[in-house]
């Protein structure tokens, strides 16, 4: 049987308009909760990005000048020796230029990274310190030395950020889940009202032999539309947040924002996840309402 797109669109739109106030509440709740979900996901990815190179106890990274790559490496050896000679340096690992180009791109400032190709990716010396607070001293001593491109250390800021975002993430997620539950309840309620408002039509539809599918689809779409509208708002919020963080990151290359810088795939995945959860919540709400409030066999309204 044909279920015209025209009919569904018309029915869904008129239902949404009839219940516009409560629809608005449901959409807003979905939007806020999914914005929190999205923000939590972005934060998580940012922190993961910011901390990936500081794992395994690495406290400071000295990037060698890529111009020296492939050339005789006495300068690099000398620097490595110098580093190890310092009393607060526990150990150092040498990473060759074959090390992931992408990581260098992310860590180095844009103008430094621009010229990089696989061949010119800088090698680095990564050191663990007895006392991480001495990282700044290494930065002081080695930056600008011949053969050194730059020196990076996480600093207290990143460590603090890690702690704060960890807590924040969980708070966001818990609040988001609570809000998602209320969003579902609101959607169930809007659909229930829509079914009630249209009980006469529904009774006639059953009487003349409309299929259950035909009767249900407009209500299904109504819930779906609410979830999706909320999700689109949330996706816009996620993109705005990402844009804002990007501005902060470009403004100061030494900032934590720069360290957290998210890749396009990160943001795309987050946006898609937000949209998917919105659709899910919408269809879940309408399915529950239809199961509960739209009896099938009985004709009487």
């Amino acid at each position: 049987m044909s279920l015209s797109v025209d009919y569904i669109a018309r029915e869904t739109a008129s239902n949404l308009w009839r219940n516009r106030l409560i629809t608005f509440a449901a959409v807003l709740t979905v939007a806020v909760s999914l914005s929190l979900v999205g923000a939590a996901m972005l934060l998580r990815q940012g922190v993961a990005n910011a901390t990936v190179q500081w794992q395994h106890g690495v406290d400071v990274i000295v990037w060698f000048d890529p111009a020296a790559n492939g050339a005789p490496q006495p300068v690099q050896h000398a620097i490595a020796h110098e580093l190890l000679a310092l009393p607060y340096v526990r150990s150092c690992i040498y990473r060759s230029q074959s090390f992931d180009l992408a990581e260098a791109h992310r860590i180095l400032a844009a103008d430094e990274a621009q010229a990089l190709t696989t061949g010119t990716t800088p090698a680095s010396e990564r050191c663990a310190l007895n006392n991480p607070n001495e990282a700044q001293a290494i930065w002081q001593q080695f930056r600008g030395q011949p053969g050194v491109q730059s020196v990076f250390y996480p600093g207290q800021a990143i460590r603090n950020m890690e702690d704060v975002t960890h807590v924040l993430q969980w708070v966001f997620l818990v609040v988001a889940v609570v809000l998602l539950v209320s969003a579902s309840v609101l959607i169930v309620n809007t659909i229930r009202l829509a079914i009630f408002a249209r009980r006469r039509e529904v009774a006639v539809m059953k009487l003349v032999g409309a299929t259950n599918w035909f009767i249900r689809v407009p209500f299904m779409f109504e819930g779906l539309a609410q979830g999706l509208m909320g999700a689109v708002l949330a996706a816009i919020a996620v993109l705005a947040l990402h844009w804002r963080l990007d501005v902060l990151a470009s403004a100061n290359r030494q900032s934590v924002w720069h360290q957290m810088r998210m890749s396009t795939p990160d943001v795309v995945v987050t946006t898609l996840a937000v949209l998917a959860v919105g659709v899910l919540v919408g269809s879940l709400g309408s399915t529950l309402a239809i199961r509960r409030f739209l009896t099938t066999d009985r004709i009487s309204a």
Binding site: M1, S2, L3, S4, Y7, R200, E201, A203, V204, M205, K206, L207, V208, G209, A210, T211, N212, F214, I215, T296, D297, R298, I299, S300
Partner: protein
Amino acid sequence: MIRFENVTKAYKGGTVALREVSLEIDKGEFVFLVGPSGSGKTTCLRLLLREETPDSGNIWVAGREVGHLSHWRIPYLRRNVGCVFQDFRLLPNKTVFENIAFALEVIGRPRHVIATQVPQVLDLVGLAKKRDNLPGELSGGEQQRVAVARAFVNRPLVLLADEPTGNLDPATSQGIMRLLDRINRTGTTVIVATHDQGIVDQMRRRVIELDQGNLVRDQARGLYGYGTATAEQPSSRAAE
């Protein structure tokens, strides 16, 4: 066309609405279903629409057993069984035309079918001039004509009417019955549950009488009242 085989139906709470009822109605028959209030007339019609299921026995409509019909088939049964009620059940915010068109629209009939069928059936019920009026602007008799048109527009095999004249004065009631008679002449089987003695006695059609869920009379060309007509032989009941 329709056959009840030892149908028993009890509602929750224990009311036995039908007790071992067996009857057979052929294609194109016109049947009155009579009996005192609570005797089980509406229950019969609801079983035929598969709004209720029998506790025991079988019900056949157009060659299909409907007492145990799977859920997804119910709509297709109802496309073959039109029904009108005492309270019309029209949609108040749709015009006469839209009310009738709605019945075709929601079963997925294409627009050109709607555009030809609806005016046809409006002519049949004599409401072509009122096609753009709302139900609230019509008399009770006119509203019932719209309801009949809606039930008939998809050309069902069977048309059920549950006290279709219950809200109408005698003259208007006769008009509705003439309309049902005209529909019956197109070959549609018509079953009318009614308390309207004047109509039953006037039309002299087959009468099936229920009393407390029991089939107590089945008479061709019968009258409304108890045993008032004895001249005729009971019809299909005797054949079983």
